[in-house]
Amino acid sequence: MQQPHIEDPRLNLPVPEYGAFSDDDYRALGLKVGLEIHQQLLTRRKLFCRCPAGLYDCHHHDAEILRHMRPTLSEMGEYDGTALMEFKTKKQIIYQLKSESVCTYEMDDAPPFELDPEALDCALAIARLLNLKCVDELHIARKQYLDGSIPTGFQRTTIVGIDGEIPFATESDPDRKIHIRQLGLEEDSCREVSDHGHTRVYRTDRLGMPLIETVTGPNMHTPEEAAAVANQLRYLVRLTHLVRTGAGAARQDVNVSITGGTRIEIKGVPSIKAIPRLVHSEALRQRTLLALAEVLRERGVTEDQLKDRSQNVTSILRNTDCLFIRQAILQGAQVKAIALPGFDGLLEVKTQPHTLFLKEFSDRIRVIACIDTLPNVIASTTLGSGISSAEWSKIAHLMQAGAHTPILLVWGRAEDVETACKEVMIRAREALKGVPEETRQALKDGTTGFERILPGPERMYPDTDLPPIAIDPARIKRVTENLPTPPWERMRYAREHHVTENLAERLSRSPAFDLFRALCDQFPSLSATKIASLLLDRPCSGARDLDHLILWVGRLQRVALGEIHFEALWQFSDAECPKAEQPSNEIIALSRQMIAHRFGPNSADPEARMRYWMGELMPQNRGKYEGRAMAEAIRTAVLGDAQ
């Protein structure tokens, strides 16, 4: 079919890879980014049952359960859009379970137990660290998820605090703050194993693990800022040692919008490094979709023209040269054609780097109609599909479509094709408005793909299985007693003591900070930068036991007294170094704490945790198990798996 000649510049907007845009370019688009950070808490048990937390097994399961999900009404008496969409997909959901990590609660065969007090303490402490207003009474809500990622069909979740802020100083605005909208305490979902056709498989070990969801305001305006704030929040919560670390322990949802666009939620971004590229792609996609909507409006395309008038064209294509369609028909597939009047020249427009507008349709067909063998759609404007121009002419004739009207072909099981055609028209009508409300998945190439319709507050429902929980002010007082010094205060302290910027940054998230501050206070005559360097970079940064660290503190005393020159410190062997007085109890306590945090079971560094447990477990089990198997088992337990 002949391609219309497109000269409209709005259809040829540049879609460069991430890196090509300046901050001003993003500002011109009106980019706004907000974050929802899901962070698992370091508790012994799951949130609403007594199963052990953090026990993962990626290879074995003891049993399977099959379930389906149906939409229900919200508290306000409305059906939620996402819920209805998921019901259209009619998925069979299979849960793999292991006796050790899952009980009848997670399988939705028993009511919840009371909320884990340890998890609540962690959440309250972190809420205070983020300067949130804590609520007086927790109300457990059910947030619907019909994708099956939680067997109940909802996540039990509760708001701990709202409306806080954290400093986010930049060169241009040293007083800048990032708004923290809310902090919720909720149960984690299942891990997806596979999703093909109408069957989705989940592993349940992670299900029910306590996590906090921290939601920021849409205060970030460039992709890099979004990543920087995510890092800031990550370091902040890690300082508390109340959270889990390692692969999968923290996941980000990134909300992106541009002027005139829509808040799009990019779900489950596994690493902060991936954020900028995804934000960039999404901003471009919204910009292009808005341009397309404008073009469609100018062409006078209306919703009425975009009704489902699909036609069965299976017989026309029975002998087509397009191999996969011919194959599919042989296996009983139906092929339907859908015309998109007014869309000439639009399907090939780039929305994201190496992604065309056509993919918006393909994604919906994949997710909602469960037709997931790609390609799952062919456009009449696609070259080299193997479908002859004679076949296209017959189809166009049958459709009574104009010469320039693009036609899409969809094939598969009859009822899936039916759903697909309806969904294509829904997406086409949405194109008139611009950017449809969606949650999108983060793809490996840095672009986003459709995941589901953006859920609204309609999916919230009070949990009738659990009473509200009043928070005693004494409890908040108790949990805030051991809060770490937040990074911004650490930065201020370090800067006041003229520590170089690089070391100050690192101190702001190091377990060595409290010891650093104590030493600076004890030895005001010494250079704070040198003390910082000693703790972070010099031999004592590797001190794994208390004696070693105290030896170095003793040497500092000698330096402070002027007995040794600071630079000469490293030249002494342990034996040569003059003995110092025993440091104060406070210094000893802080030293012990630092070692524990750096190398202990709660260390933020997964490799350090790994070494700790190897050190603890290997000596007792040597000979009983093969070293490598032992190491592997510990690695799985400590690090989780890469999902």
């Binding site: 508290e75 065969d109 007086d136 109300h139 708001i159």
Partner: protein
């Protein structure tokens, strides 16, 4: 109406002229909260105000931390299941759904914070449209009670409602019922409606229908399919077979029991195998010795019940005053759930003897649930029979209780009661126990674990 609020929170609301469903900004000691004031559960404390935030989350604010409430507007929830006219198709069988309560269809009650039943044909069609593919459905809500509140009045009323529908010539009857005492009602209906010409299917749900994972829809679909198409003309319970969404089981009304407080697959046929399974492909009987569907209306309604009957669940060291108390309070029948083959301790003998001598009907069942009462094996059993206690074969304790109340509703003659009790009417006593009538797979055993890995639970 205070919508669950009491002093002192109610005083705060009144002071700022704020009512439930007001859109407000609440100034508190910790900062401002914006949202919608919701009703308060009556069972929750009196010290907190419940606010729904724009995000959909609810939070509680303590009355004494509130400094001001500014009202901006009003928004009341209208909780409604989308109602749609149930379509009619002359080709499809007529099924009557009789509602007695339970969570088969339900909605949220703000005052208690709990789920309350809701029931109407168009609501049902709005939430379970699949029913229209099976039958022409008529519904009638005769009661709206949780199953623990069912009693003789409701049992008799339900039996009469069933009789009316059979007279009208429906193809089958579905009875929505709470699950806790569903097996009690199933048993008594089996005795009250004898020899029915069509299926009478009791159904409920273990997860209320306000949850996406609810078993309500599938149970209702399976029950309706059974009522519309099944050849089994008996009182049955239709509930989940496995906990997976795979198929339902049809249990005979006199042999079924709820066996887990929360599992979906809680109903089990005891001492026998279920009648059939039912799924989207239809009803598949496991056996042929059931009563078959007929075109006549030759059934018998025996709607009587005397509730001066008790179950005594025996425990070691039980004192005779328990039995004496029942006798002195005018009870006419006692079902004992004895240990083992049907035993109680010696101190109870005089009390039991006195009960029997006073013309109270005393029957022995087993608390092991599986197996027959056999009172000849041990001397204890023979002694107890000597007192006048009658062994009730393999009738389940709850079934024996329902049958005894039903029998005593018909006659004062103890011998006649005994005759009624020991004459099988609807499978409550079976002549034999098949070897696979007792199967509780024991978890942890390698072969069982292997079985579980290969089948959906």
């Amino acid at each position: 109406m205070n919508d669950g609020y009491r002093s002192p929170t109610l005083d705060v609301l009144q002071r700022f002229d704020a009512a439930v469903w007001s859109e407000v900004t609440v100034e508190t000691e910790h900062g401002d909260f914006e949202g919608l004031i919701l009703p308060r559960s009556e069972t929750a404390d009196a010290n907190h105000l419940v606010l729904k935030l724009a995000t959909g989350y609810n939070v509680g604010l303590r009355y004494d931390s509130i400094r001001n409430i500014a009202v901006h507007g009003h928004k009341q929830a209208h909780y409604q299941i989308p109602a749609k006219q149930f379509p009619s198709d002359p080709q499809k069988p007529r099924v009557k759904l009789i509602g007695t309560g339970g969570t088969i269809a339900s909605r949220l009650d703000y005052r208690t914070g709990a789920v309350i039943p809701a029931f109407s044909p168009s609501e049902l069609y709005g939430s379970v449209p699949e029913l229209a593919d099976i039958c022409n459905l008529e519904t009638e809500k005769i009661y709206g009670v949780f199953s623990e509140n069912m009693g003789p009045e409701q049992w008799i009323g339900t039996a009469r409602a069933i009789a009316r529908e059979i007279e009208k010539g429906v193809s089958g009857i579905v009875i929505g019922h709470g699950t806790d005492t569903m097996h009690h009602t199933a048993a008594v209906l089996s005795f009250m409606v004898q020899n029915p010409p069509c299926p009478i299917v009791m159904v409920g749900s273990q997860r209320s229908s306000d949850r996406p994972s609810s078993d309500a829809a599938m149970n209702l679909i399976n029950a309706t399919r059974t009522a519309a198409t099944s050849d089994i003309a008996e009182v049955m319970v239709c509930m989940f077979g496995p906990t997976s969404d795979q198929y339902g089981l049809l249990h005979r009304g006199t042999r079924v029991r709820k066996m887990h407080s929360s599992y979906r697959s809680t109903f089990r046929t005891i001492g026998d195998i279920p009648l059939a399974k039912v799924d989207a492909t239809g009803v598949t009987p496991f056996r042929q010795d059931y009563r078959h569907r007929r075109n006549d209306k030759q059934f018998k309604l025996v709607d009587s019940f005397d509730d001066r009957v008790a179950i005594v669940y025996y425990y070691p060291s039980m004192k005779p005053d328990i039995i004496d108390a029942l006798v002195d309070n005018g009870y006419r029948g006692i079902v004992i759930a004895g240990t083992g083959l049907g035993h109680v301790n010696k101190p109870l003998y005089p009390a039991l003897k006195r009960a029997c001598e006073k013309g109270i009907a005393v029957f022995m069942t087993v608390q092991t649930l599986w197996g027959y009462v056999q009172m000849y094996v041990y001397e204890t059993g023979r002694e107890i029979m000597e007192l006048g206690v009658v062994p009730a074969a393999n009738m389940l304790p709850e079934v024996a209780y329902m049958k005894l109340g039903w029998a005593l509703g018909q006659t004062d003659d103890v011998e006649e009661v005994k005759r009624i009790m020991l004459t099988p009417i609807a499978g409550e006593i079976t002549p034999r126990e098949p070897h696979n009538g007792y199967l509780i797979l024991q978890g942890g055993i390698p072969e069982v674990e292997e079985f579980i890995t290969r089948h959906w639970k």
